[in-house]
Symmetry: C2
Subunit: 148 residues, 2 copies
DNA sequence: TATTGTTATACTCTATAACTATA
DNA sequence: TATAGTTATAGAGTATAACAATA
């Protein structure tokens, strides 16, 4: 019976299959890792999209993350409710909200990032450190805009 | 303005982010590639789960693909309706359905697989052939059961 | 009692369309 | 007219619970 359990040779080489399940597993590990810090994996993504750059409007943050601006609204509602993010009207264009991390948001981001790094190390444990870094750079070439 | 478009340095190294968007992009390319053959990308996955192995029950096929057996029901309904798959009661255990590709299913699988391979080549174009193969084997080590 | 397929249902994630306020 | 944020809504994709048939 256990000889019928695996995906089979065709599925095992299929990129959609491999990427889907790699993402599902890594997302679950990240979610479990950051949960003790009061956020979920998607919220960590939003916090990451707000750091290491100039302050962003909600729309810019959504573009950085690759999600819709309407999806961003609910995520910022939750993060603002937790005191991790602040929204202020833009000085020169009052249609926009400037979204920034609060001090608590920076602290949560710091702790959650460490937890996520540990989850990534667990996930990548079957690979050598060199193979793990090659995987990351290969994914970057496939996903990031070519001018990066 | 375009200097604020990319994901930023933190997100660019985050594995969940990279895997999510790699999967989304590859899934879209595959879906577009196989659509002319009358199936979508998820249905190609089901067809792949039924080939290269002994005939499977619905539950076994679902396990190979990594989806729930209740999800498999609707997918097989659709594929059976298109004449690509057949369901027959198992000879020795009439609780089970033996699921097999029909001749039309094998033909569709053949054509859709070629289309999918072309889509994978497009997706992997930013990498050298060696880097692409390393990516695939790295993902296999991360996703497949260790006894494979 | 346990398992396979099935159905009904609900939940998560996401996007589209329409509204408002500003520009 | 166009854009940023918001709301309401709908569509994928998925899983959980309960049921019938069979073991």
């Amino acid at each position: 019976m256990s000889s019928s359990d695996g995906p089979g040779p065709e599925l095992s080489r299929n990129l959609v299959y491999l990427l889907k399940h790699a993402h599902l597993r890594m997302a679950e590990l990240t979610g479990d890792a950051v949960a003790p810090h009061g956020i979920d994996g998607r919220e960590l993504g939003v916090l990451l999209s707000l750091t290491g750059r100039e302050p962003a409007s909600q729309q810019q943050a959504a573009q950085r993350l690759g999600i819709d601006r309407t999806t961003m609204v609910a995520m910022l509602d939750a993060l603002e409710g937790k005191g991790l993010v602040s929204r202020h009207p833009h000085a020169e264009d009052r249609r926009r909200n400037v979204v920034e991390l609060t001090d608590a948001g920076r602290e949560t981001l710091h702790l959650a990032t460490e937890a996520n790094n540990a989850a990534e190390r667990d996930f990548l444990a079957p690979l050598t450190p060199e193979a793990a870094e090659h995987l990351r750079t290969a994914l970057q070439k496939l996903v990031l805009p070519p001018d990066d």
